[in-house]
């Protein structure tokens, strides 16, 4: 899903990193957000709604809408669309609204 050849932009990828989501090891590049990296790996469902468990993904991708909240390295409610991916990140679908008091 990554664009190799583009008429206007020459994409310079950062150094390769790997991170973990839902039991999978995913390859990404430094400089990408977690949302972009997941999307490139074909992951579009980022959470399920609280009551009816409807699948949800991101919407605005720039940190405005709160659609992309996930659990990252134990921290809840992380806006993954504005969070850069780091080597070894553990990204999980969040259950519920998240406990901001308890530490991971």
């Amino acid at each position: 899903m990554r664009i190799e050849d583009h008429p206007i932009i020459n994409f310079k990828r950062g150094k390769p990193v790997t991170f973990y989501f839902d039991g999978q090891t995913i390859a990404a590049y430094e400089g990408e957000t977690i949302a972009a990296a997941l999307h490139a790996a074909g992951v579009r469902v980022l959470s399920y709604s609280h009551n009816r468990k409807r699948p949800r993904g991101f919407f605005c991708a720039i940190g405005n809408c709160s659609s992309c909240l996930m659990k990252v390295n134990g921290a809840y409610n992380v806006r993954i669309c504005v969070t850069p991916v780091r080597e070894g990140d553990r990204v999980e679908i969040q259950e519920g609204r998240g406990d901001i008091i308890a530490k991971a």
Binding site: D5, H6, P7, I8
Partner: protein, 164 residues
């Protein structure tokens, strides 16, 4: 109507088509810009001064066909990619259309392609004569296609054979 479809009608195209006598003399630019929007870089693009100076930034560009040499420098300067150069003198049967083309991969010289019109519909077979992609064009390559003369005012883009 252009406002509904995004496609100029034949009346609008006729208005900006240069007269026969001018077409017989050599390449000439045509500007397919029909809406008064605040936009004026084209007036600075022409070295021959063939694009008349704007009085108001919302003016439509007007080409002085006598001053225009058909060099095509203006093609990549138009943010709307609305300028083309046509040359009815290329050969007995064929004319040339120079157009902006901002996609990859770029076609190759001598490649056979399908010329399409303003609605993306196939018009005719076309041959790539030249591909210009210099730094000065700032990522708006200019492609020159040879097409049957009667289609000079119709072919505005192309599709590679075997899909796009």
């Amino acid at each position: 109507m252009l406002e509904k479809t995004g496609v100029p009608d034949s009346e609008q195209i006729k208005k900006i088509t240069p007269p026969e006598e001018r077409l017989k003399k050599g390449p000439v630019a045509v500007v397919e810009c029909f809406q008064n929007i605040p936009c004026d870089p084209c007036q600075y693009a022409c070295r021959q001064g063939a694009i008349e100076e704007f009085e108001d930034i919302n003016d439509l560009p007007v080409i002085d066909h006598e001053l225009c040499s058909g060099c095509g420098l203006c093609i990549s300067e138009c943010p709307g990619l609305a300028i083309f150069v046509i040359d009815a003198t290329y050969s007995e049967e064929e004319g040339l259309v120079k157009m902006p083309y901002e996609y990859v991969p770029l076609p190759e010289k001598d490649e056979e392609v399908t010329g399409v019109d303003t609605e993306g519909r196939s018009v005719c077979g076309a041959r790539v004569i030249r591909v210009q992609n210099t730094k000065a064009l700032d990522r708006t390559p200019v492609i020159t296609l040879a097409v049957p003369k009667q289609h000079l005012m119709r072919v505005r883009s192309f599709v590679r054979k075997g899909g796009e």
